[in-house]
């Protein structure tokens, strides 16, 4: 499989990364090179093989239902580029 520039632009938008025409052209080549490389996987017969869901053979630990965190809005918004009154602020979202 290979991608064209329109696909690269669509994917870039899905990933919310602005790309210029020139970048889109270059990235198309690079992505095709990588996709060509991963094409080798087509040689492998994976019929009946379970996909790996976790590399460690262990059971997922559960947490007790207790409140152990929060009540520190200053640390939550402390690194925000723009905040006001402990809210994060972003360019207006039009619903």
């Amino acid at each position: 499989m290979s991608v064209d520039t329109a696909t690269v632009r669509r994917v870039a938008h899905l990933a919310r990364i602005k790309v210029s025409e020139e970048e889109a052209g270059r990235m198309t080549e690079e992505l095709n090179s990588i996709l060509g490389f991963v094409e080798h996987l087509n040689e492998v017969d994976v019929s009946g093989v379970e996909p790996m869901t976790s590399v460690v053979e262990t059971k997922m630990r559960w947490r007790k239902d207790v409140v152990t965190d929060g009540d520190n809005p200053a640390s939550v918004v402390g690194n925000a580029p723009v905040s006001d009154d402990d809210f994060f602020m972003v360019p207006k979202v039009v619903e």
């Binding site: 899905l14 559960w62 239902d65 009540d71 809005p73 939550v76 809210f87 207006k92």
Partner: protein, 493 residues
């Protein structure tokens, strides 16, 4: 999901269009907030409200390097709910990431369950007038709630509060088994009842702890399924009904005018009573689901499920059946009484050792009407089950008449006290002493010879004599006894 039609088209539910009858097909995705102290994957409080970003951990704010750890109570709540929906519980399920960008979605993905949910197929039974409707449950899965954006505080900026971010939700997906807005409303009501019985969701739609995405399509009765539209985030049962009515008619109108339905997401505007396309969100979604690599598969044993099952409360359907069987109440009264756990408990206290039918009657009529009038619920009722029970006793043993009982009810409701003592103190006992009643009847007959003559020709005039006697005895005479004696003395049958 493949669509399987489980229903027989029923003309009572059709909507009549210009070109004939239409059938509405409705399916629901209900988001129910799990009752828990802390969030699904973090230790921050799940409590509603709070100062901005106060119920937020660094995990909820998606700080770099933060990792989710699952809350065991949320797992239990989902399993309990699955059991309450008579559904298949999956001993192994998987959390996936649903990827999209939105300012109130800090991670850039929502942790949800896509291919392998914790709960599979189940059933909800609706008691509709004259029929019982079985609604299939497709699945129930656990997922994170998003934060909240506030758009009206600033001319060019939106404010983001992450207090809701990461709170556990159960998404309960029904099959497209509903056929009219009444069924849809009944489904939401029944689901809420079940969740409240189980204590897994408070069902408080005002605070958004239960909200529905409603899929609506129309078709010619029994025909192919039509294209559906999804009405997002409906937060009241009444609105759900209005939204479906509007949306079905909108779709019928388009098709009848030769148009086609675009599959799209819409919002219900309760002020105008219409649904509107969410144009800003029309952009094609590609959620790129994949298993969350920060979380191992969720696994538990059948023994874990069995233990939760053994501690489950009696469910509304079971309780209803028991009320009908043990108390002999009507199916309708049983349904009304079991709508809320608290009403059912109250009823059982009132009915215990008494005339249960009479108790059910008084609860479903006078008692609920009075609560409603005062805007109160069972918990804040000024009248206790014992008080209402005493009133029922006084009626049953004929100490008071039904009419006096209404006065007594009002006195006890507003002033309190023991109904028996009130009846004693205020002389409200009905007169059943036939001697006293005969004396009164004789007096009325003696004073009205002309009426006596008329009554002999027209027996319905007996009622006039009864009324006079009741007036003389201050309403306390047993009306039945008066009626019998009047008829005997007048010699009419």
């Amino acid at each position: 999901m493949s669509l399987i039609d489980t229903r027989t088209p029923d003309p009572k539910k059709f909507i009549n269009g210009a070109t004939g009858d239409w059938e509405v097909i409705i399916g629901m995705e209900v988001h129910a907030q799990v009752v828990s102290n802390s969030k699904l994957f973090s230790g921050a409080s799940a409590e509603y409200g709070g100062a901005p970003n106060a119920h937020v951990s660094l995990v909820d704010a998606a700080m770099p390097g933060m990792l989710p750890v699952i809350n065991e109570e949320c797992i239990k709540q989902a399993v309990r709910t699955g059991l309450g929906l008579k559904a298949e519980i999956n001993l192994k399920s998987v959390f996936d990431r649903k990827n999209y960008f939105y300012p109130d979605l800090p991670q850039g993905y929502q942790i949800s369950q896509f291919k392998q949910p914790i709960v599979g197929e189940g059933t909800v039974i609706l008691d509709m007038p004259g029929e019982t409707v079985e609604v299939g449950i497709e699945r129930l899965h656990l997922e994170q709630d998003a934060g909240k954006s506030i758009h009206d505080q600033h001319p060019t900026m939106s404010f983001v509060d992450l207090n809701r971010s990461g709170v556990a939700l159960m998404e309960i997906v029904s099959k497209p088994d509903l056929r009219c807005s009444d069924e849809a409303k009944a489904y939401l009501t029944k689901l809420r009842t079940i969740l409240r019985y189980l204590g897994t969701c408070d069902g408080n739609m005002d605070e958004g702890s239960m909200r529905a995405d409603i899929n609506v399509s129309v078709r010619k009765p029994g025909g192919e399924f039509g294209t559906r539209c999804e009405i997002k985030n409906v937060n009241s049962i009444r609105f759900a009904g209005q939204a479906i009515e509007y949306e079905a008619r909108r779709q019928i109108g388009i098709i009848e005018d030769g148009g086609t339905i675009d599959q799209e997401t819409r919002l219900f505007d309760p002020r105008e009573g219409v649904t509107r396309s969410m144009r800003s969100k029309e952009e094609a979604h590609d959620y790129r689901y994949f298993p969350d690599p920060d979380l191992l598969p969720l696994e538990f044993t059948q023994a874990f499920v069995d233990e939760l099952a053994s501690a489950l409360p009696e469910l509304p359907d079971d309780k209803k059946a028991r009320f009908i069987a043990d108390y002999g109440v009507t199916p309708y009264d049983a349904m009304v009484l079991t709508l809320e756990q608290s009403s059912a408990d109250f009823f059982e206290k009132v009915a215990k050792g008494r005339d249960a039918k009479l108790a059910a009657n008084w609860m479903t009529n006078d008692f609920f009407a009075r609560l409603n009038k005062d805007g109160k619920d069972i918990a804040s009722s000024p009248m206790s089950a014992e008080q209402l029970g005493e009133i029922v006793d006084l009626i049953a043993d004929k100490t008071i008449s039904g009419k006096i009982a209404k006065d007594l009810f009002e006195i006890v409701w507003t002033e309190g006290g023991s109904p028996k003592e009130v009846v004693e103190a205020r002389g409200m006992k009905q007169v059943t002493d036939t001697g006293a009643i005969e004396t009164a009847v004789d007096a009325v007959i003696a004073a009205n010879p002309d009426k006596v003559e008329q009554a002999k020709a027209k027996p319905t005039l007996a009622g006039w004599f009864v009324g006079q006697v009741m007036k003389q005895t201050g309403g306390k005479a047993n009306p039945q006894a008066v009626n019998e004696i009047v008829k005997a003395k007048l010699g009419i049958e």
